[in-house]
């Protein structure tokens, strides 16, 4: 009777997903650097493996990207070793950048069946940023220097920095930072504007933020080594690597390919100069000689398999 027909239709609809056979899905978090990295990865994989790559940018924060990986809704996204260690694995950083990377790689494989590729080359750690003029006037070079002025200063931080265990809480404790009033919490995109306009005196940005180079802003040195390393790494589902072995070779090519300065410049190109992310990513790949001469060519899949070994 009718009920059986409805049930069949329902099962059909939920069970049948569009064929993912030759498509990779790349996700990204909610900010520019993530989108640039993901676009870069997407183009590189398209060039090298001939697979179709679907972009799902602005998925949200770390949690949502991680959940999407676990659920198999995305195949790949760029993460940072420090974030993976503290926010996902809930572990404490130790052993320097290499130690942190290896621990993340091993635990992700063991707990989540996710592969962590070699770092892309830059360390996007938290940057405690102040206005250039204040740095010069008060002769401030390190975060310890600033502790003295904190009670008279206002700080501005993003949601994640406030909530994360490797964020404000630990920083305040390590450097004995007590601000006169509670820090203002605002969207990442508005932090620098607030700093430049004087609404806040100190922000926690990222060391690869484009604006730092483009404006008169100073990064304070983390003299007590509080912030863990945040090396950018592509995280891939093990299943995806099995299905598309060419992806592994392609990712190996990108190991160490991006320096801090290069990332900063790409970020500024998008945020400051308002250039298209696609163009910025493509230019970078061309500069590094990582594209085939005519852009996307489907026989590049053959090329990558002979390069493996």
């Amino acid at each position: 009777m009718r009920l059986r027909w409805l049930l069949a239709a329902f099962l059909f609809l939920t069970g049948c997903t569009p064929d993912r056979g030759n498509t990779l899905i790349i996700g990204s978090k909610n900010f520019t650097e993530q989108v640039v990295l993901s676009e870069l990865l997407a183009q590189h994989l398209e060039n090298r493996t001939g697979l179709r790559v679907q972009r799902r940018f602005y998925l949200g924060g770390t949690y949502i990207c991680h959940q999407s990986m676990l659920a198999g809704r995305i195949d790949l996204y760029p993460e940072y070793t420090g974030t993976a260690l503290t926010a996902i694995l809930k572990d404490r950083p130790q052993g320097g950048p290499r130690g942190v990377y290896e621990r993340v790689r091993d635990e992700y494989a063991r707990q989540f069946n996710l592969a962590v590729a070699e770092p892309l080359g830059f360390n996007n750690t938290f940057a405690i940023v102040i206005r250039g003029e204040d740095a010069r006037r008060l002769n401030l070079r390190t975060i310890s220097d600033v502790a003295r002025y904190a009670p008279q200063w206002r700080a501005g931080f993003g949601y994640e920095f406030m909530e994360r265990p490797d964020g404000f809480e630990g920083l305040a404790r390590t450097y004995s930072l007590t601000f006169g009033s509670p820090p203002r919490i605002m969207d990442l995109g508005l932090l620098y504007r607030a700093l430049l306009e004087g609404q806040v005196d100190l922000v926690a940005g990222n060391s690869t933020d484009g604006l730092i180079a483009a404006r008169d802003l100073t990064i304070l040195e983390d003299d007590k080594g509080y912030f863990p390393p945040y090396e950018a790494v592509p995280i891939v589902r093990a299943e995806t690597l099995e299905r598309h072995p060419a992806v592994r070779a392609a990712l190996e090519e990108l190991a160490g390919a991006i320096s801090d300065e290069e990332m900063r410049r790409m970020n500024y190109a998008v945020d400051g100069e308002h250039r298209d992310v696609k163009d910025v990513a493509r230019e970078f790949l061309q500069k590094k000689g990582l594209t085939t001469s005519a852009g996307n060519r489907s026989n590049s899949a053959g090329t990558s398999s002979t390069r493996r070994g």
Binding site: F10, T17, P18, Q54, F57, Y58
Partner: protein, 211 residues
């Protein structure tokens, strides 16, 4: 690009997310029915339990959906996977309409019918399954319909905690300030709700018994 072109170009992704959405709603509705129907039936035989159980379901309904997602997040097994969490929350939300309508449907059966049935020697179980339930199906299904439509709506919020579904388009569209992306999520979600309402409404009409 016009909205229609946008929809067509991204049809695979839209279909995938719609499928996820249907999955979230479908599983939670099945669970809610599996729990709510027996509970509703139980309440007709155990009037003492009416106040606490209906009361609890009522309280759950008044908690804002996003808050409920947040409450469940730290739970050990539930909170580990976003889709588990979302399905749990959606199931809890669907409980009240289902329990309440099951109870109302059964108690709303003509008392004369009930008296005749008992007087003729039907056992309580026979009364429930052969008389009260068949006569209550229309009302019960109305409860399921209401719960389903509510679920389709709340499932869009599930994307905020990473459970996927059409809400993902909406949140991404908001972050990127891209109206087409927002519509790509909002319109299919609305259509899903309407479709569910229509289909279940038809089913309800066919099952309603003329007195």
């Amino acid at each position: 690009m016009s909205p229609l072109e946008f929809f067509f170009k991204n049809r695979t992704e839209i279909l995938t997310l719609t499928g996820e959405h249907v999955w979230l709603v479908g599983v939670s509705m099945l669970l809610a029915a599996a729990v709510g129907l027996p509970l509703g039936m139980l309440l007709t035989r155990w009037p003492v339990g009416r106040r606490p159980i209906l009361g609890a379901a009522n309280v759950i309904q008044t908690v804002p959906s996003l808050a409920l997602f947040g409450f469940l997040l730290p739970m050990p097994w539930l909170g580990a996977r976003a889709d588990r969490l979302a399905i749990t929350a959606l199931t809890l939300y669907a409980l009240l309409p289902i329990i309440r309508n099951t109870y109302a449907g059964i108690t709303g059966v003509d008392p004369a019918v009930r008296e005749a049935a008992r007087g003729m020697g039907m056992t309580d179980r026979q009364l429930l399954f052969h008389v009260e339930l068949p006569l209550a199906w229309g009302v019960i299904l109305a409860g399921v319909r209401v719960a389903t439509v509510i679920s389709v709506g709340i499932a869009t919020i599930a994307a905020a905690i990473g459970a996927g579904g059409l809400g993902e388009f909406i949140f991404r569209g908001l972050a990127m300030v891209n109206n087409q992306l927002i519509l790509a999520g909002a319109i299919p979600a609305a259509l899903l709700a309407l479709a569910a309402d229509f289909v279940l409404g038809r089913l309800e009409g066919r099952l309603r018994v003329r007195a």
